[in-house]
C-alpha cells in the first residue's frame, strides 16, 4: 500500500487516509502521524519497511496499556454484557460462556433480554449448544427480576461465573439506560456482590458513534471493559485506539465470526497488523 522511502506530503496523506478509513478519529490520526515523524526523525536512513514498522509501533504503544486482568479471585464472578442494538451481545455471551467453561469454570447464563422478539429463545439455543444452563423469565417480564433469580442461583448453587445478556439499547434513551442501572443494582443486592465486569459490546463496523456509546454507557452504568465484534468483516475497528488510550478501558476480547469459537483475547500486535 505504501511505496515511498521518505515521509513527504504525499506519503503522509496516504498514511492519513489509511488511518482515517480504519475508523481512527481525525485527531488521533494526526497524533499518530506526529509521533511517527518524531520516531523516524532520529533515523539516518529511511526506507519503506522502517516507516511501516515505526507506524505500527506508534499505534501499538497507544493501545498496549497495562490493565489489571479480569478478577476471578472471588468465589463468584459476574459479567454484565451491554451495548447498542445488534452489536453482537447475545452471540458474545454464548462464546464467552463457552470460553470460560473450557477454562474449567462452572458457568451460568441469565437471559435478561425479555423485550425483543425471540431474545430469550436465541440465548436458550446458545445455552443448549454449549451445555450451559440459562435462566429465563416470561416474555416482557421485568429483566431485573430475571437477573435477580439468576443471582440467587449463582449465590446458592455451585456456579463460579454468571454472565448476563441484556437487551440492546441506544445510549441516548435515558429510560433504557436507567433500566440497565436497575438491573445492575438488583444483581448487586441479590448476589451480595456487585458485577465485577460490565462489558460493552462494540460492533467494529460502526464509526465514531462507538466512542459516544462507550462514554455514555460508562457514565450511566460504569463500564469496566470492551469486547469488539465483527472484526472478521472489512472494517478495522480503529475506534478502539481512542477507547483504550483516551477512555482508558481495556479490550478484553474480540469477536471474529458467528461460530462458538470465534472469540479470542485481545492482542495489540494482531490488531495493528490487521489495520495494515
Amino acid at each position: 500500500v505504501f511505496s515511498s522511502s521518505k515521509l513527504d506530503d504525499d506519503y503522509i496523506e496516504k498514511i492519513e487516509e489509511a488511518l482515517i478509513t480504519s475508523d481512527i478519529s481525525f485527531g488521533t490520526s494526526n497524533e499518530i502521524i506526529e509521533d511517527l515523524k518524531k520516531m523516524i526523525s532520529k533515523e539516518k536512513e529511511l526506507n519503506q519497511d522502517k516507516i511501516q514498522n515505526a507506524l505500527k509501533k506508534v499505534i501499538k504503544d497507544k493501545i498496549s496499556k497495562d490493565f489489571p486482568l479480569i478478577d476471578f479471585n472471588n468465589k463468584k464472578t459476574i459479567f454484565l454484557i451491554v451495548g447498542v442494538n445488534g452489536a453482537g451481545k447475545t452471540t458474545t455471551v454464548g462464546k464467552l460462556a463457552n470460553f470460560y467453561k473450557n477454562e474449567g469454570r462452572n458457568v451460568l447464563i441469565a437471559a435478561c433480554d425479555t423485550f425483543r422478539a425471540a431474545g430469550k429463545e436465541q440465548m436458550e439455543i446458545w445455552g443448549e449448544k454449549i451445555g450451559i444452563p440459562v435462566v429465563t423469565g416470561k416474555e416482557n417480564q421485568d429483566p431485573a427480576s430475571v437477573a435477580h433469580d439468576a443471582s440467587i442461583m449463582l449465590k446458592e448453587k455451585d456456579f463460579d461465573v454468571l454472565i448476563i445478556d441484556t437487551a440492546g439499547r441506544l445510549h441516548n434513551k435515558k429510560h433504557l439506560m436507567e433500566e440497565l442501572a436497575k438491573i445492575k443494582r438488583t444483581v448487586s443486592k441479590a448476589a451480595g456482590i456487585s458485577p465485577q465486569e460490565t462489558i460493552i459490546v462494540i460492533d467494529a463496523s460502526l464509526g465514531q458513534n462507538s466512542i459516544a456509546q462507550i462514554e455514555q454507557f460508562k457514565e450511566l452504568i460504569d463500564v469496566s471493559g470492551i469486547i469488539i465484534t465483527k472484526l472478521d468483516g472489512s472494517a478495522k475497528g480503529g475506534i478502539i485506539i481512542d477507547a483504550i488510550s483516551k477512555l482508558n478501558l481495556p479490550v478484553r476480547f474480540i469477536g471474529t465470526g458467528e461460530k462458538i469459537d470465534d472469540i479470542s483475547e485481545f492482542s495489540p500486535e494482531m490488531f495493528v497488523d490487521n489495520i495494515f
Binding site: V84, N85, R116, A117, Q122, N209, S234, A235
Partner: protein, 295 residues
C-alpha cells in the same frame, strides 16, 4: 455547530480585508473535520470539499457581504442534492410482488421486515412474511413473533415436513402459497452476512437470479463507519440494489454513512428506522438527514 464555526472563521478572516481563495480553503478545513467526525467516507469528503470550494469560488463568496451564510447554503444544498429524495416502492408489478432484504449482521433486517409489512398492510396490501435466515438461532421464531404481533401471516420455514429447507426452496414454496392464497406482496428476510463472504453473497445472488425480486433493499445501520462504502458497493455490484433503508436513526449518530452509501451506489434511500417498535418507520427525507450530518 458548523454554521457558527464558519461564521467565526469568516469574521476573523474579514478582519484582513477581501477574502482570498486560500481563505475559502482554510474555512473548509473545519467542514472537512466535521464531515469526518460524522463518519462520511474519507474520499467522499475530499470530493465534497473540492466541489464546494469550486462552487464557492464560482459564486463569488469572496466578494459577498455575508460569506459564511452563503458558504453554509452552498454546503447544505450540495449535501441535500447528494442525498437525494426517497422514491416509492416498486409494487405496481403483477402480484405477488417480491421484496428482498439484505445487509450486514445486526443491521435491523428482521425488524425492518416487520416494519415494512406493517407499512404496506396499512396501504391495503396483503403481505406474506418469509423467514429465509436458516443460520441465526431463533431467527425464524423472531420473524414469526413479529408477524403475529401485527397479524401478518408468516411462511412456516423449516417446519416438521421440511426440516432442512434451504433459502431457494423456502422462497419458492412461499411464492406458491402466496399465489394460492392471493397474497400480493412477499417480504423475504435473509441472514446477515459480510459483503466479503463469497458463499453467502452467492446465496443472495442465486435468490435474485431465480426469483427476480421487484425490490432488493439494502438495510444499513446508520451508525456505520468508513467501511460503509465497501459494503454498499459489494452488495450493489452483486445484487443490483433497488433501494436503501437506514436503521437506528433514533440514535445520536450524525449518520454520515447515509452520504457515503448514496454517493457510492446512487440508489434511493427509501425509508429510515427510528426505533424498535414496528411503527417506528418513516419515509426518508434528505434535508433532515443533511442537517444531522452537518451537525
Amino acid at each position: 455547530n458548523l454554521s457558527s464555526k464558519l461564521e467565526k472563521v469568516f469574521k476573523h478572516l474579514r478582519g484582513f480585508g477581501k477574502l482570498s481563495e486560500k481563505n475559502i480553503e482554510d474555512a473548509l478545513k473545519d467542514v472537512r473535520l466535521s464531515l469526518l467526525e460524522a463518519d462520511v467516507n474519507y474520499l467522499i469528503v475530499k470530493e465534497f470539499i473540492e466541489n464546494v470550494k469550486n462552487k464557492a469560488i464560482g459564486e463569488k463568496v469572496m466578494d459577498s457581504l455575508t460569506p459564511s451564510q452563503q458558504m453554509i447554503k452552498i454546503i447544505r444544498d450540495e449535501m441535500v442534492e447528494l442525498l437525494g429524495q426517497s422514491e416509492p416502492l416498486d409494487i405496481k408489478a403483477k402480484p405477488p410482488v417480491i421484496i428482498l432484504l439484505a445487509g450486514l449482521q445486526g443491521s435491523g433486517k428482521t425488524t425492518t421486515a416487520g416494519k415494512l409489512a406493517l407499512y404496506l398492510s396499512r396501504i391495503k396490501r396483503s403481505v406474506y412474511l418469509v423467514p429465509a435466515d436458516i443460520y441465526r438461532p431463533a431467527a425464524i421464531l423472531q420473524l414469526k413473533k413479529i408477524g403475529a404481533s401485527i397479524n401478518i401471516p408468516v411462511y412456516d420455514t423449516r417446519n416438521e415436513a421440511n426440516p432442512d429447507e434451504k433459502p431457494v426452496q423456502i422462497v419458492q414454496n412461499a411464492i406458491n402459497i402466496a399465489e394460492k392464497y392471493a397474497y400480493d406482496t412477499i417480504i423475504i428476510d435473509t441472514a446477515g452476512r459480510l459483503e466479503i463472504d463469497e458463499p453467502l453473497m452467492n446465496e443472495l445472488k442465486e435468490l435474485k437470479n431465480k426469483f427476480n425480486p421487484n425490490e432488493i433493499l439494502f438495510v444499513a445501520d446508520s451508525m456505520l463507519g468508513q467501511s460503509a462504502v465497501n459494503v454498499a458497493k459489494k452488495f450493489n455490484d452483486t445484487l443490483g440494489i433497488s433501494g436503501v433503508i437506514l436503521t437506528k436513526v433514533d440514535g445520536d449518530s450524525r449518520g454520515g454513512a447515509a452520504l457515503s452509501i448514496k454517493k457510492t451506489i446512487n440508489k434511493p434511500i427509501k425509508f429510515i428506522g427510528v426505533g424498535e417498535k414496528l411503527s417506528d418507520f418513516e419515509v426518508f427525507h434528505g434535508d433532515r438527514i443533511a442537517e444531522r450530518i452537518l451537525g
